[in-house]
């Protein structure tokens, strides 16, 4: 057998050994708590994803995967509040300090999550959410009758199927995408991130999307009932939706830079403002 052939025959064994060693460095921890109605769960993680889904009963089930023995999870229940905190036992890089959380909670659990880099994913709840991330991707789906506040430095923020919400998104440079999001208040503000909204602006709410240099793209159906104003101070406003003109504009209209109009009864207020980004309003 040649040296090359001999080396090749050892390769799968080496890979398996390495995988086994890596697996042994991972530790799964499980925690189970019983909380009362409308509980709070707070999660503080530095590196690694946090996923929150509804549970069947009243119990909170937590599975934490620790990627090294340099970290541990401190879980503390105080009354109706559960706090999960990644605790560094010694200096660790982003791989060694990674902890993956999978959490199942009663659907009426108020959640706050802070994670620097991992994806934060929350779905199918009807309680308040506060999510903070640096570069973390934030995904929130199918939430109703709740406050949804997301704060991000440069990670993308994606919200989908949020109904009757009080939604506030703040980001410095991360893009914000809102699909079928409605409620009494829906705001998204970024410095340079792009803001995309696709939906019908229902609920007679106040919708405001603001940024400095990113684009703002809004797509709405013909049946949307909105009273809209859009201004780009040094960028452009591009509209192909057939709005009816508004008799009294709150500001002087400059073709291609600003827009006011209504659609149907104009029950929701929609304000779009960018300093230098392009604003596009499109018919679905």
């Amino acid at each position: 057998m040649s040296n090359i052939q001999r080396g090749a025959s050892w390769l799968p064994i080496a890979v398996l050994t390495l995988a086994s060693l890596m697996a042994s460095a991972e530790t799964k921890k499980q925690f189970h708590y019983t909380l009362g109605p409308h509980p709070n769960v707070n999660v503080f993680n530095q590196f690694g994803p946090v996923t929150v889904k509804p549970s069947d009963g009243t119990q909170v089930d937590v599975t934490a995967t620790l990627h090294s023995d340099k970290v541990e999870v401190d879980a503390t229940q105080r009354g109706n509040r559960l706090e999960l905190r990644t605790h560094f036992l010694q200096k660790a890089d982003s791989d060694q300090g990674k902890v993956d959380y999978e959490i199942r909670v009663p659907a009426d659990t108020a959640i706050s999550i802070r994670s620097a880099t991992g994806t934060i994913s929350v779905a199918d709840l009807h309680a308040d959410l506060l999510i903070e991330g640096d570069a973390a991707k934030i995904d929130v789906k199918r939430i109703s009758d709740a406050h949804v506040h997301a704060r991000s430095l440069n990670g993308p923020v994606n919200l989908e199927d949020i109904h009757n919400g009080h939604v506030e998104i703040t980001s410095v440079s991360g893009p914000v995408t809102l699909n079928k999001v409605d409620g009494s208040l829906v705001t998204a503000s970024t410095t340079s991130g792009k803001i995309v909204y696709r939906g019908d602006f229902s609920g007679g709410g106040d919708y405001a999307f603001t940024n400095h240099s990113g684009d703002i793209e809004v797509t709405l159906p013909a049946e949307a009932s909105v009273d809209i104003s859009a201004v780009s101070v040094s960028g452009a406003v591009d509209n192909d939706f057939p709005f009816q003109p508004t008799p009294h504009s709150p500001f002087p209209i400059t073709q291609g830079k600003s827009l006011v109009g209504t659609s149907n009864s104009g029950s929701s207020s929609v304000r779009l403002r960018s300093f230098s980004g392009k604003i596009r309003v499109k018919k679905q």
Partner: protein, 233 residues
């Protein structure tokens, strides 16, 4: 002139100087004006005092108010909805640990940066709000108040730049790989504040511009808050 014992007309320097405040405020009566014309000592004195009074007006924004003043500003901003009171926003925001930014937090003074950011927010907002109000006052008051405001903006920018450098140094010490992105974000958000501040200055009645300026300040405060978490051991 005679060392403060004599002067023009029927008035000597002692009599003249007893009414200095009145003279500086009003220019004085006929006798005082005559004395001022003829007495170089008193004339120089009045000239110096007027200069000091003018400079003092400009220096007002530099005075460091007590913590009660900052608390008052914060409360006012919260009441006006410019900044948000976490405990007043329902249980969602109340669930954050109260000690998160408190003095007990580990780290050597870095916990103060969010407070500094809040102060910057207050200073910035007060500056442009004062701009609004000053434009509505009589033209006689306009120039002096605008001078003070310009000074406040310059002072605020200098403070801001100093705080930014401190923040970046703290980030570099704890998470050097993130320094560059924070620096870029700070640059962007500062440009945002600067541009929107100009918009408000150009048209103080532009409600959208004022809202956008609020948002820009909030984004900067948020950036500070999140950055501080990286700066702590």
């Amino acid at each position: 002139m005679g060392k403060g014992v004599s002067g023009g007309g029927n008035m000597n320097c002692g009599e003249f100087q007893e009414s200095l405040a009145y003279i500086i405020d009003t220019g004085g009566n006929a006798k005082q004006k005559e004395h001022l014309k003829e007495c170089s000592v008193c004339s120089d004195l009045v000239s110096d005092l007027r200069y000091i009074a003018d400079q003092a007006k400009l220096l007002v924004p530099m005075l460091e108010p007590s913590s009660r003043v900052w608390d008052g500003i914060k409360t006012s901003l919260e009441q006006e909805g410019v900044v948000k009171n976490r405990t007043a926003r329902g249980r969602l925001l109340g669930i954050l640990p109260a000690s998160r930014w408190g003095p007990g937090t580990r780290g050597s003074g870095i916990w103060m940066l969010p407070i500094a950011a809040l102060v910057l927010v207050a200073v910035g907002l007060l500056a442009y709000r004062s701009t609004l109000s000053s434009r509505q006052t009589a033209s006689a008051e306009l120039s002096s108040s605008n001078s003070a405001l310009n000074f406040t903006n310059v002072d605020s920018d200098a403070m801001s730049d100093n705080q930014d450098q401190q923040l970046l140094a703290a980030i570099a010490a704890r998470a050097p790989e993130m320094r560059q992105s924070y620096e870029q974000d700070l640059r962007n958000v500062n440009a945002y504040i600067s541009d929107e501040r100009k918009s408000v200055d150009t048209d103080p009645d532009d409600e959208d511009a004022r809202q956008a300026l609020n948002e820009a300040y909030r984004e900067k405060a948020m950036l500070y808050e999140i950055a501080v978490q990286h700066s702590q051991p």
